[in-house]
């Protein structure tokens, strides 16, 4: 559905994107991860036909964004990271305006808009001026706007930025619904846990380069992200921490009020041997388990080294 080949974007002497290659199949939810200024928004702007690449090709549903921008615009719903609304329009008028801008006939819009408002939980705000909506409601309204022409692809740049936890959860639920509807979604976010729940694949971008791409589990396996073992003992926690630091497969030991967190480089067998050793040392082990590595760990692991994998 989205095919990017050797995409580069240069502003003067600054390379915003360097030879990006990316393929996102139809129906995939793709999480775009990277620090500020890494090139996420630039890539999304190019896909949204708002910017031309310096070199390379970007295609949406087979249409080149530079050669056939109108065809691309029919197929995408774009939500920028920062956006405004026309405050003097009512919610339904706002959606009617965008619907008409996508050449959707009035009769069709009259049926479509209540459904969209229901999808984004704004049915009770249909006759309210956009000015009177909260930030979260405006974000949801903007998402409804993206969907008005039933696009195949949704390009969502930081859709949950600036939202409170409740609004963020509501947004996440809507995105899950869209995923079930079979939309191809490319979504960027700083808040990695919220992405982890819904994405099929991630792409990690840093300094304009794609440093990792694929399923989260595959990337974890490729990176051999170190396990984090969570240990809790009855007593002498500080003494155990010091002893664990001398172990050959342990790279770091952190203690807090929940217990000891050990960054462990060994496999299952070495893990069993470590537990046996602690028992043999005479510590009363209350719990010993492997903490779940998440998207945040993967991101930190990738971006600290700067290596392309």
């Amino acid at each position: 559905m989205i095919d990017i080949q050797h995409l580069s974007k240069r502003y003067g002497n600054f390379d915003a994107l360097k030879d990006i290659n990316l393929f996102i199949p139809e129906g995939t939810v793709f999480g775009f991860v990277g620090p500020n200024g890494a090139g996420k928004s630039t890539t999304m702007s190019i896909l949204a036909t708002l910017m031309l690449p310096t070199s390379g090709v970007a295609k949406v549903d087979g249409f080149d964004v530079t050669q056939h921008p109108k065809e691309v615009r029919k197929r995408i719903g774009y939500m920028p990271d920062f956006f405004g609304v026309y405050d003097q329009l009512k919610t339904t008028e706002y959606l009617h305006f965008y619907g008409a801008s996508y050449n959707i006939p009035r009769a069709e819009r009259d049926q479509l808009i209540p459904q969209l408002l229901e999808l984004v939980n704004l049915s009770d705000k249909s006759d309210v001026y956009v000015d009177g909506l909260s930030r979260g409601m405006k974000q949801r309204l903007c998402l409804a706007r993206c969907l008005i022409h039933d696009p195949k692809v949704l390009i969502l740049d930081e859709p949950a930025s600036g939202l409170d936890p409740r609004a963020r959860i509501e947004m996440r639920e809507i995105l899950k619904e869209l995923k079930q509807m079979g939309k191809t979604i490319i979504i960027s976010s700083h808040i990695l846990p919220e992405l982890a729940e819904m994405v099929d694949e991630i792409g990690v971008i840093e300094h304009g380069q794609m440093v990792a791409q694929g399923r989260v589990a595959d990337i974890q396996a490729r990176l051999r992200v170190k396990k984090v073992l969570h240990i809790r003992v009855l007593e002498r926690e500080d003494e155990l921490s010091a002893r664990l630091q001398d172990e050959p497969l342990v790279s770091a030991v952190l203690s807090d009020n929940t217990g000891i967190h050990v960054h462990f480089g060994g496999g299952d067998l070495e893990q069993v041997q470590l537990l046996q050793k602690m028992i043999a040392w005479g510590y009363g082990v209350v719990s010993f388990h492997e903490a779940q590595t998440n998207l945040e760990d993967v991101f930190l692991e990738i971006t600290k080294g700067g290596a392309v994998i």
Partner: protein
């Protein structure tokens, strides 16, 4: 209504709604009519009560003079109003962060630019039409034909289109509305004031040179008159008095048989029609980021590869 759906595109519809929903529009309209009405009443007061110890009758020549005064006042008000209404139409969308979403819809660049310009011009036209009752005072005393009045109003429309097109152009080129407004007013000032001053300066130099020549030598008409044709006030006077064009070009007294090379208002229309078309064309080309480079790229591709299939956006 089917006709309205056919002729009023979504951008225009939205612009009309947004413009007429704010109290600012009604206040602007009221203030404008109030200013022009005060000028008209002031003129009547000065002419009837202060002139000739209050015994001056308000005759057709006074009516004509009042029409001239109102027309110039209206021209000055248009010069102030048009940039304020148009110089923020695109940069305002950019500042409100709504432009990127508008550009990803199916509306073409031309539709967006022309709709923005048309909606601003519509509001200005509404204001101008609303001043017609003030002008009707002139008809109580005579001295002005309906045809003259229609020409003057068409001339206003053209001046509004000129300043509006320039406002939209600078609004497209500059990211900040403040800068766009300042530049539009600056260019407006050049058109309204600088052209007149340059004409007077150039005319004095050329006339001094002519008087230094032997009688019977030298030309009757000078190119200097073309400068005044670029000035809206000059063009407006030539609409009132067609002989004004002749005197604008004339260097020597006593050669009034020859006609002026061109009427000042005709030159004004010709030159600024080109400016309006250029301003609108550049705005359409430049509204989308990188559009200039895209144009070059297309040109290069066409030359080097002779490939088609470009989708005009």
């Amino acid at each position: 209504m089917n006709w309205s759906r056919k002729w009023i595109n979504p951008v225009l519809d939205k612009e009309f709604r947004l413009r007429m929903r704010t109290p600012r529009s009604a206040i602007s309209l009221l203030a404008y009519i109030l200013v022009l009405g005060l000028i008209a009443l002031g003129f009547i007061y000065v002419t009837l009560y202060l002139g000739n110890n209050g015994n001056q009758p308000f005759n057709s020549s006074a009516g004509r003079m009042m029409f001239y005064v109102l027309s110039f006042a209206q021209l000055v008000l248009i010069a102030f109003m048009a940039p304020a209404l148009t110089a923020g139409v695109i940069s305002g969308e950019r500042e409100k962060q709504t432009l990127s979403m508008l550009l990803t819809t199916q509306q073409s660049s031309a539709t967006i630019i022309l709709s923005k310009l048309f909606s601003s011009l519509s509001f200005m036209t509404l204001i101008i039409v609303a001043t017609m009752p003030i002008y009707s005072i002139v008809f109580l005393y005579g001295g002005i034909s309906l045809k003259q009045m229609i020409f003057i109003f068409l001339f206003y429309l053209f001046v509004m289109l000129l300043l509006g097109a320039l406002g939209v152009l600078f609004s497209t080129l500059f990211k900040r509305t403040m800068i766009s407004v300042i530049v539009t007013y600056g260019v407006g000032l050049c058109i309204f004031l600088m052209t007149g001053l340059i004409y007077l300066f150039a005319m004095s130099i050329v006339q001094r040179h002519q008087y230094a020549l032997q009688p019977g030598t030298g030309t009757t008409y000078s190119w200097v008159g073309y400068i005044l044709g670029l000035n809206p006030a000059g063009a407006l006077i030539s609409l009132f008095e067609p002989s004004f064009s002749k005197s604008a070009f004339l260097l020597r007294n006593g050669n009034l048989n020859s006609d002026a090379p061109i009427q000042l208002w005709q030159e004004f229309l010709l030159v600024y029609t080109v400016v309006i078309i250029a301003a609108i064309w550049i705005s359409i080309r430049r509204i989308r980021p990188d559009a200039g480079r895209k144009f070059k790229k297309r040109g290069t591709q066409a030359l080097s590869m002779d490939t088609g299939g470009n989708d005009p956006s």
